[in-house]
Structure formats: structure tokens, C-alpha cells
Symmetry: C2
Subunit: 116 residues, 2 copies
């Protein structure tokens, strides 16, 4: 009688076997980190919150200094970071710049987390 | 003949009317910003990505140094920040610490964005 071949249990995991290349590549991780860096500041989160709550869909920079009790150069710096991260759209009209959420941008950030 | 009362159009928006108190309070914004700060680093995003991709649901710290080409103290520092932000769970077993995603934590971050 011939012995049946012994099927060894699959051992696809073991401690101290390096996990291999990360699913998320270095360059892609850098890009994604920039978006989270833009969100990693309380005042920038509050600016997004105010602009999002505006029924007209946009806020004049002149309306954003008082609620945060910050000077206009500081507010403009924070707004610039949010624009560069692709979260806000900026439109200059006359003297003032107006800021609105880029449609779908916050959903896209949520998507980054889902796709990690 | 009496003049009809003139109904003025509602003007609920105008430039340079401060937007009032932000929907997001200062303390809440600080808390939320801490979570985004934990995500605002390419290596931490890659660590989350590796741990998320682990079929066992957890990774030994000893498996995480090689894929990122970082020393163990650096990896441990990044993992600590992710634990403090409530994104990773840490369990010490024997010599090594094992890290797993806190269930629902990434969804909760997505929820922070939706509720801004």
C-alpha cells in the first residue's frame, strides 16, 4: 500500500518574514501625505468648515479673518496651502479673492484612505 | 390708492460680512488635526498600507523595517504616532510587538472629512 502524499498546511505567514514591497509606493505615499499635511492644522480645518458651510458655496478672504481671530496674511497662507493641496478653488474678483471647495475633493481624500 | 409694501429681496450674503463662528470649534479642530498629522507622513502611510494588506490582519514590527528600508527605532516611532492617533492597535507578545488597524478607524477619519 502506497502512502498518500502528505499535504502540509499552508504557511503563508510567519513572524520575521519581511512583508515585501508595500502596496503603497514611495512616490505615491509622498503625494498623499501632502494632502494630509494640508489638513493637519486646526485653523485650516476651521477654514474648510466655514467655506463648506457658506450657503453661496464660496467665502471672501475678507470674511475669514474675524471668525478665526487671525490676521489676513496668516489666513491667506493657510488658504494657499489648501489651494495647493487641491482642496480649495481660488477666484480673484476685484479687490478680493473668493474661495470655494473643489467639488468632490473631500470625498477624494476619503477615497485615499479607503485605497491605502 | 395706497402703495403696496415693497418686499426687498433677501440679502443673506454680502461681501465682508464676517462668516460668524466657524461650524468647527477650536478644540474639536485641534483633535481632528492630530489625526491628520499622523497621516501626514509618507512612511506612516506606507506602514498603514502594509498592515492593512496583511492577510492575518496584523504585522510584527520585525517585518516592517525591511520594506521601508528604515531602522527599527524610526519605524517604532512612526508606529507609536499611529497608535496615539487611534489608528493602530499594539499588542506585545513575547519579544515582539504586533500592530493591527483599529477596526473602523480609517472610516472614522473619512467621517471627519464628511462632517467638517
Amino acid at each position: 500500500m502506497t502512502a498518500l502524499p502528505i499535504l502540509e498546511p499552508a504557511t503563508d505567514e510567519s513572524c520575521c518574514t519581511p512583508a515585501g514591497a508595500p502596496a503603497l509606493g514611495a512616490d505615491e505615499a509622498k503625494q498623499k501625505a501632502l494632502v494630509f499635511k494640508a489638513l493637519a492644522d486646526p485653523n485650516r480645518l476651521r477654514l474648510l468648515s466655514i467655506i463648506k458651510a457658506e450657503s453661496s458655496g464660496e467665502s471672501c478672504v475678507c470674511d475669514l479673518t474675524e471668525p478665526l481671530d487671525l490676521g489676513q496674511p496668516t489666513v491667506s497662507h493657510h488658504l494657499k496651502m489648501l489651494v495647493e493641496a487641491g482642496l480649495l478653488h481660488r477666484e480673484k474678483r476685484g479687490t478680493w479673492a473668493y474661495y470655494s471647495l473643489v467639488p468632490g475633493a473631500l470625498d477624494d481624500v476619503a477615497g485615499l484612505l479607503a485605497d491605502l
